[in-house]
């Protein structure tokens, strides 16, 4: 048993840290430090820089442009991204649709989509949830009717982050209305410029406009845009959800939040032992979770697939993120209405997205405890 990172891993961390320090544009770093919203160009510029360094496609096979990192290196990279105040890489292309295309797509699809996902030339968004299908995703009602070599798609997708910037959307749609719930669904790629696709922003309680509703009205899509087999899209959907859950703990981000909180307390000369104690409690839980993540990573490095244990990281990670945004609000007391309240409001989303925390508890109960 050995907890230390290997010398190679440490050297890799230094390399990433130095690269971020020297290559991250200063205006982007300032925005992140200030907690400002980023625009598309910020994400695109940063992705381009990392792309040129060969550092975007973690988790992809090396021959398709992947970084060739193991789980530990991937972990180190994302930690340093957070510690260095760099933007996260938007996951919808790189870490959601790309793994599905790699796993279930054909060669033509891999050649068409992957290079532009890696370079950031094309942005993606996720067409999963619907007004009537949230946690019960398989009850989705968007239809894709086969008409010769095309699908005719009708339906509404919602809660879509970054749809306003996206060039493509991957959509779960029902291709066999008579099949059982999970069985008649297909995974289809839709060009956002196709006639009949409209994006409507949804303003969130924090004033943000990063999520959207996407209407698909008589949208005609070539059958070549189907990934995997028709009516077997649920397999892709589940595969993607498991990918999505890993890394949702956001531990490095929480450490940044903590540091900001300590700075705030020092700056405002807040002297409140009760607050100190509440912060310490969250900090300790964060350490416990960070160690839990390392245990998961070590298991993954030893060849174990990420399993339902990742639900722990999702639940506790988001609870801690929320607790920290709450503590920042409480720390500032009467001045908290400033920029901290929107963050607190915004962070309520974390326990809802990527499979609500209640759904995660169902997963633990069923798949781990076998209840």
């Amino acid at each position: 048993m050995d907890l230390a990172f290997s010398p190679e891993d440490r050297a890799f961390r230094d390399e990433v840290r130095d690269f971020i320090a020297t290559h991250l544009p200063a205006d982007i770093r300032r925005k992140i430090q200030a907690g400002d919203h980023l625009v598309k160009d910020d994400y695109a510029r940063w992705q381009r820089i990392l792309f040129e360094r060969g550092w975007v496609a973690s988790g992809w096979p090396k021959e398709l442009g992947g970084t060739g990192w193991g789980p530990i290196q991937r972990h180190i990279f994302y930690e340093e991204i957070a510690y260095g105040w760099a933007p996260r890489l938007l996951p919808f292309g790189l870490h959601m649709v790309a793994p599905v295309i790699i796993e279930f797509g054909n060669d033509a699809q891999r050649a068409r989509y992957l290079p532009k996902i890696a370079s950031g030339e094309e942005f993606w968004c996720q067409g999963y949830s619907e007004p009537g299908a949230g946690s019960d995703l398989a009850s989705l009602s968007t239809r894709a009717e086969r008409q010769g070599d095309t699908y005719l798609i009708n339906g509404t997708k919602t809660w879509i982050t970054a749809a306003q910037w996206a060039d493509w959307i991957f959509v779960l749609a029902r291709t066999d209305p008579n099949a059982k719930k999970q069985e008649g669904i297909s995974f289809i790629l839709v060009d956002m410029k196709t006639p009949g696709v409209t994006v409507r922003p949804i303003e969130t309680i924090d004033g943000g406009k990063e999520i959207n509703e996407v209407h698909l009205e008589n949208v005609v899509v070539p059958v070549a845009n189907l990934v995997g087999k028709e009516n077997e899209g649920w397999t892709c959907a589940k595969f993607l959800l498991e990918h999505e859950r890993t890394g949702t703990a956001g531990i490095a981000g929480c450490r940044q939040q903590l540091e900001t909180l300590h700075e705030l307390i020092a700056h405002e000369s807040i002297d409140d032992p009760r607050l100190d104690e509440r912060i310490a409690q969250v900090e300790i839980e964060l350490e416990a979770l960070a160690f839990t993540e390392l245990r998961t990573l070590a298991a993954e490095s030893a060849g174990k697939r990420p399993g339902p244990e990742s639900s722990i990281l999702k639940i506790k990670g988001t609870e801690i993120q929320q607790a920290l945004s709450e503590l920042a609000l409480d720390a500032l007391g009467p001045y908290a209405e400033s920029h901290l309240a929107p963050k607190y409001f915004n962070y309520r989303k974390t326990s809802i997205y990527a499979g609500s925390n209640e759904i995660q508890k169902n997963i633990i109960a069923k798949r781990i405890l076998k209840l």
Binding site: L3, Y83, S301, I312, N362, A365
Partner: protein, 375 residues
């Protein structure tokens, strides 16, 4: 980074698990422990010692799972680590052989867990010291031949090894709620000579502080064992118990509670390992050691309380019954939560040691990383 156990570690785990699963109630198992080598964990090589905090964790986790009532933490980990750091090899050898047994008397009525809050005095009279004062909650004192007592020598604190039957010592033994052997101790002018000093004069607090961290980590491992068994028993029970014509484990309210218990057990597992590894890898850094171990105890206390209370709740009436095992695990967990400092005490200790670490370079080391980054 590697969390797999070595073949030797697996062997310890399995042999302790076999013992813990068997009939270990009532009778004194010390000679057996000595024979199995368990008293030598953490001792130096020349005494036949082996392993360290990880091996202690493996043993204590299984003791927890089997609800083994044993003076191991107090007499082997706490006393042993004091003797080891003080380089009292001749005493440690007898401890490892099982021929002499040590209890550590450090806590006082006003101390609330703090080993620095010492009023007991050791006044020098020529070559000797005379000790006067009161010690409380001395763990496993009845079976000890020798008491290691902390006392004030001027501004500082020193440790003394005193035969348990020395004149002017009164032991008042009692059983704690979980049936453990505890005693209060009165020292009315107990005379010791300078050779009975453990470690250099005035080094008592540092010795105690370090050894208490080792013992606290061991308790965290026991807590992990207790909690994991309570969770398993609860899941099993809710699959069997039928109400409204179905197993109660099919109800979502109960499933979510058990999922939460599962998460707490996993966090507890993480901090138990974190504490052991901190002792292993940060042996020369008392600030990191205190921070890591106190963090572990805070989490353990919180998780243990949640798992214990809900294990009783989900069992319903049977959980309240003295005949059923879960209540006994809960009682032991409640004691473990408090022994050597409760959550309140350790959160304060964590905060204090965090402040001291601000100047430490942020190495982003897995152990205690967020603490060292805090400002």
């Amino acid at each position: 980074m590697d969390f797999t156990l070595s073949p030797e570690q697996l062997l310890i785990k399995d042999s302790v698990a076999r013992f813990a699963a068997g009939d270990h109630a009532g009778t004194e198992k010390w000679p057996q422990f000595a024979e199995l080598g368990w008293l030598a964990i953490g001792a130096p090589d020349e005494l036949g010692g082996f392993g360290g905090p990880i091996e202690t964790l493996l043993l204590m986790e299984q003791f927890g799972r089997g609800l083994v009532r044993s003076p191991y933490v107090a007499q082997v980990v706490l006393a042993g680590q004091i003797l080891r750091a003080a380089e009292r090899t001749e005493l440690l050898e007898r401890l490892v052989e099982g021929t002499e047994r040590f209890a550590v008397a450090y806590e006082e009525p006003q101390a609330r867990y703090d080993p620095a809050a010492v009023k007991t005095t050791a006044v020098r009279e020529g070559e000797a010291f005379v000790l006067t004062g009161t010690k409380v909650r001395v763990l496993d004192a009845s079976t000890a031949n020798t008491l290691i007592v902390s006392a004030r020598t001027g501004d500082e604190i020193s440790l003394f090894a005193i035969p348990a039957n020395a004149p002017n010592i009164t032991r008042e033994p009692y059983a704690s709620e979980d049936g453990y052997d505890v005693a209060n101790l009165r020292l009315d002018g107990v005379r010791v000579d300078a050779a009975q000093l453990i470690g250099p004069l005035g080094d008592g607090l540092a010795l105690l502080d370090r050894a208490l961290d080792h013992a606290t980590a061991a308790l965290c491992a026991e807590g992990l064992g207790l909690m994991s068994l309570m969770l398993e028993a609860t899941v099993e029970y809710t699959k069997q118990r039928q109400q409204f014509g179905v197993p109660i484990g099919s109800f979502q309210a109960l499933q979510h509670r058990m999922a939460e218990m599962f998460i707490e057990v996993e966090l507890a597992r993480s901090v138990a390992y974190m504490a052991a590894m901190t002792l292993d890898e940060k042996a020369d850094d008392p600030v990191a050691r205190r921070r890591g171990v106190s963090a572990a105890k805070v989490q353990m206390a919180k998780s243990g309380r949640f798992v214990g209370q809900n294990a009783i709740q989900l069992h319903g009436g049977i959980g309240m019954s003295e005949e059923y095992k879960v209540g006994h695990y809960f009682k032991r967990m409640t004691m473990v939560e408090r022994l050597l400092g409760d959550g309140q005490y350790h959160v304060a200790r964590y905060i204090a040691s965090r402040g001291a670490a601000v100047t430490a370079a942020p190495d982003r080391d897995p152990v205690g990383a967020s603490g060292s980054r805090a400002s």
